[in-house]
Symmetry: D2
Subunit: 387 residues, 4 copies
Amino acid sequence: MGSTLRVGMVGYAFMGTAHSQAWRTVNRVFDLPLRAEMTAVCGTDRAGVAAAAHRLGWAGHCTDWRELVARDDIDVIDICTPGDSHAEIAIAALEAGKHVLCEKPLANTLAEAEAMVEAAARAHPGGVRAMCGFNYRRVPAIALMRDLAAAGRLGTVRHVRAAYLQDWITDPGYPLVWRLRRDRAGSGALGDLGAHVVDLAQHVTGQRITGVSAVTETFVKERPLTWGSTRRGRVTVDDAALVVGRLDGGALASFEASRFATGRKNSLRIEINGDRGSLSFDLERLNELAYYDADRPAAEQGFTTILVTEPHHPYLSAWWPPGHALGYEHTFTHQLRDLIDAIGTGADPQPSFAEALTVQLVLDAAERSVANGAGWTQVQPPLPSLL
Amino acid sequence: MGSTLRVGMVGYAFMGTAHSQAWRTVNRVFDLPLRAEMTAVCGTDRAGVAAAAHRLGWAGHCTDWRELVARDDIDVIDICTPGDSHAEIAIAALEAGKHVLCEKPLANTLAEAEAMVEAAARAHPGGVRAMCGFNYRRVPAIALMRDLAAAGRLGTVRHVRAAYLQDWITDPGYPLVWRLRRDRAGSGALGDLGAHVVDLAQHVTGQRITGVSAVTETFVKERPLTWGSTRRGRVTVDDAALVVGRLDGGALASFEASRFATGRKNSLRIEINGDRGSLSFDLERLNELAYYDADRPAAEQGFTTILVTEPHHPYLSAWWPPGHALGYEHTFTHQLRDLIDAIGTGADPQPSFAEALTVQLVLDAAERSVANGAGWTQVQPPLPSLL
Amino acid sequence: MGSTLRVGMVGYAFMGTAHSQAWRTVNRVFDLPLRAEMTAVCGTDRAGVAAAAHRLGWAGHCTDWRELVARDDIDVIDICTPGDSHAEIAIAALEAGKHVLCEKPLANTLAEAEAMVEAAARAHPGGVRAMCGFNYRRVPAIALMRDLAAAGRLGTVRHVRAAYLQDWITDPGYPLVWRLRRDRAGSGALGDLGAHVVDLAQHVTGQRITGVSAVTETFVKERPLTWGSTRRGRVTVDDAALVVGRLDGGALASFEASRFATGRKNSLRIEINGDRGSLSFDLERLNELAYYDADRPAAEQGFTTILVTEPHHPYLSAWWPPGHALGYEHTFTHQLRDLIDAIGTGADPQPSFAEALTVQLVLDAAERSVANGAGWTQVQPPLPSLL
Amino acid sequence: MGSTLRVGMVGYAFMGTAHSQAWRTVNRVFDLPLRAEMTAVCGTDRAGVAAAAHRLGWAGHCTDWRELVARDDIDVIDICTPGDSHAEIAIAALEAGKHVLCEKPLANTLAEAEAMVEAAARAHPGGVRAMCGFNYRRVPAIALMRDLAAAGRLGTVRHVRAAYLQDWITDPGYPLVWRLRRDRAGSGALGDLGAHVVDLAQHVTGQRITGVSAVTETFVKERPLTWGSTRRGRVTVDDAALVVGRLDGGALASFEASRFATGRKNSLRIEINGDRGSLSFDLERLNELAYYDADRPAAEQGFTTILVTEPHHPYLSAWWPPGHALGYEHTFTHQLRDLIDAIGTGADPQPSFAEALTVQLVLDAAERSVANGAGWTQVQPPLPSLL
């Protein structure tokens, strides 16, 4: 663990806080080729970023991300800002020879995402690595899901049934935060939540979504600018989205994303049915994976609730004894474990920007379908130069 | 209980067996204005129907339903045949002045369904009653769901999320039974399973589906004519269907029907999210209803699993003490309870043929959407004369 | 099905109603060597028993069980009365050459129970059969539990953890019904509920309980004679009991019975842990059995929720398709299926009176332990003459 | 946050690792009057403790805890060693004016525990604080459980039903680790696991256990010294314990502790039934609390699964948005939050040594009951001088 990996992080809100906890923890738990150093954090508000640096444990801080990118003593840029700034920061960082970890979604527009993929491709030969932060791939139960699917335990996949359900804006008095404005967030539930389930569907099955039909709705069309304010603004993103799709292996898929699913707080659910078995997961019980093995004796078949806390489960040998639950934040620690390991060994961290782009392409097709009365819409293949 | 209701049943397979159990039981459990008599059962196979009559407890039997319809000593015709014969039998029975209970789906074609509605309308002034057998409305938990929704406990409905998942034909060796042939069954998972969830969505919310986008798939396109046979035939119905819709109250809805959901045996699920609460049900745990009441104190909110076996729950006061579970067959007994009560008191049993037609209209729109590349398709309103 | 089995039932309250439903149904569902005829029902209240006979479907009725026992046209006496009359009726019936089905607990006192076992032993050579109605053995999930245990799937049993939890008398205003009076009921939660879990523990493991330590409590010591009455009487049975025991195979066991477990309506739970696996059941979800198979691959272990509704599950091939739930009353139908089959084939129905006596002996040891400050108390072996 | 709290930790195995993660995290998440500094860690193995200090983030390290206690630059001693050294270290630390956090169980013998309570009482006037580490009190769901109980929402408590079930030594080849030796561990499942549930039962209800009856068993009496070794030693502690008790408010309680509950990995369960409601918790789903409110409308009663991740739940406002799960390690962070807050404000952290002693007294009574054939045994009151 002689070498260090010096980190500069941009943004210190929800995602920045979660990433900080992960940077602080990852080398305490995992044996890795590099030791992370929390070098500096960047944010536009001078007092805010100083307080955040102190609280979250960053050695330095600044207010201009360009400064961070320009520093010699920083090896990786961790982008935790809203999607409208991802492309600019990531491309600059890659061009400056920094590794990049960029929060999902990759970008707010397809053009930006493609530019990011191109920048990553240009930087790759120089040993620079780029990764998109689809942290839920690192839930141990999801990793086990992929392992079982990759081992053929599902057989031919027939159905993917995925949803990401929250309820935090059901109250019409909830204010018009940046996530509800298209200029900042790019999209609403579709891009914020739908991106996760689209990524997981492709990741777990190892297949691509080829076409979609989609419908979206904005239930509450205007909101106060702040809690209780009489000044109101227009909600310019979707509150909920329903997407039907097909995978290139022949399966049907359904995706739902909603911020109006009363009582569902953070329910990212994905179920996959194949002719040899099924797998089912809900993020509200993130330590559990339900597995139906159709090869078992007939009278003993059923969904097995695997408590994914055993040393032989993904990521678990570094943690606590069996049955001792992990939480949400561990997904970020695992993400960094994989990133540091990839950087240290010269491997390519996953998902790459190119892979994250495939999610954007699905979301883009969904938006085109919405504009076309839910008509079936082919997902555009990535540019050949990006493959 | 002086008067009797003399019953003639057509068909004695799965549905006929379930109905027989209900006719035999209903007056033993409920206090009703009429006492059912199991007068005769009809089926095309002479030996088969004789054995069924003996086994299931029917006093007589015959092989021609016209004979049944013509008998003076029969008050109600209970139609348990495949959908292709529903219209002919039902219309003849109604014209003969018999009450009719007809299994769902109402008919295999829209034209037949409309003719049945017209026949029911013509017979109604003469005191003749017609009911379609959407038995799941009579699961006590579903009845409670409707009661809570009707009392306004959901507030404004935002989402309906419904699926009916089975897995009995995932094996490609499963033979080409009548349910897999369009000429007999009319449709596949969409009509058989989807009809139930479409009916429940409208029944529980009290709203109508106004438009849909739909996709279907036949995963296994050919099957042996019987188990192990080398003679094969073409599957002419869908194996699975995904439907996205909108309700007239503004909610988004998703419907899924599949016979390829490995591990899901009889999982009819419906969840409704409103801005004041949510309700969620799964037929595989049919004695339970999950209710999220957003009006409760913040720290105590969550989904309450109501064990729907208390005397103050629908239908339950006639059964066992609290906590003593009911099963699938009780839905048919409750259906007859409501039918007999309606006939005995002169009320209109629900769902009427006209209401069942609204389900057919949604399925019809779904099939038109499928033919049109999942494009958004308005659900046709019922003919004004039928309202 | 040429021969008939003519039934006379004593008692027509809760148990009598449940038994009637089963007698009416059993030959409609199962192929059996004898056809049950509901010949007559007996009860002390003349109007009540007449109404019950009409409602429940018994051909005749009387007010003196001796009359029933004396009739030539009755083959089996079904005893559904409180425990204080079991011995007298059962012994008279056996001596009159009638088969006997007697509700649990076998008797209110050990002496009565032993006399019943002796009477059954005397009658047996003449082809007369006696069975005690521990209906929960016939929950398909419990039958599957026993099958798996008998097949060695648990390995060496280490723990039995059983409880029967209800809450119907938590309200101190609930009146002093017969179940709360020692002279009628013999015992409280211990005998009414505890008897079931003691029987299941022995039945599923195939082992005997050898010693116990027990504590009981009567939380509400006086109650109104009827709802709202100012006249009050003393509760002379236990409200709850906790029993710790050992099985002859070396396992530890815990049993709990309570009528004060608020929110638990009919929660009979039993879990068995062995060194090769575990089984867990809860009557509030009676169609499910949880099975942990420690022989599975390490990363795939977990409790499998088996939906016990498949044709290859016990009793199920006669019922509905997979996933179509059964209910409480089916346990009685299955009990009659096994009784009729045993009588028809000359086999011994289970549990015999002798086996039911072993439950009484455990309850007796528990009561002696309570009287002895929870001190360890050996369960008395059955009289050698009764083995 | 000007002042610091300089920490010396003794022991760096499982508990030491968990405590380190908490010390590293607590000030990053919570606003507290003191900032913890991880000054030094102590362990007997020189190389081991040096590596642990580096990995876990302790500034210094040593091999003699007396050295740690003697240092001027340490404010609090955190004891993470096996129980046989708790008393000596804790008493020395308290006498040296250090605050003490001591892992549970407080000590291996009652005499040691009492000496520790006395030492804490002597040190208290000087502003020195002592706390025992019953970390599960700080599961947010458990804290909410106590809040609801303390608010009277349970009414009169009738039942406590608690168990701590694990399965890590079901394999007879599992070696004779220190936890299986009485000289190191003091007791087996009873003291290790039973201590937790006894503490929670008293903590949540606010009542004391007054008497018990207990049974223990050692299923595997000899084990290899290490995995695969032919050298074997005698297991000198219990593998499982069953304890029945009474609370001073009149409730019955049952406690089970086992390391042979196959399939139960870390299942600490506690359910409390009162006449106004019930609460139920399982550590394997630690973000959930089930609450039955008997005051709700009759048709809507049931167990509500509260996802304890809302900002208005205990400890949660400092963490992630609703629905984002916490894990096992967070209990230690919360424990430190409360400890630091108490030290910083001069309050008394809970549970005090005196309160932890009450758990020891219950375990002592259980052991005396075991020795006395499960006979009822009064729990000895704490010495008056210690109250």
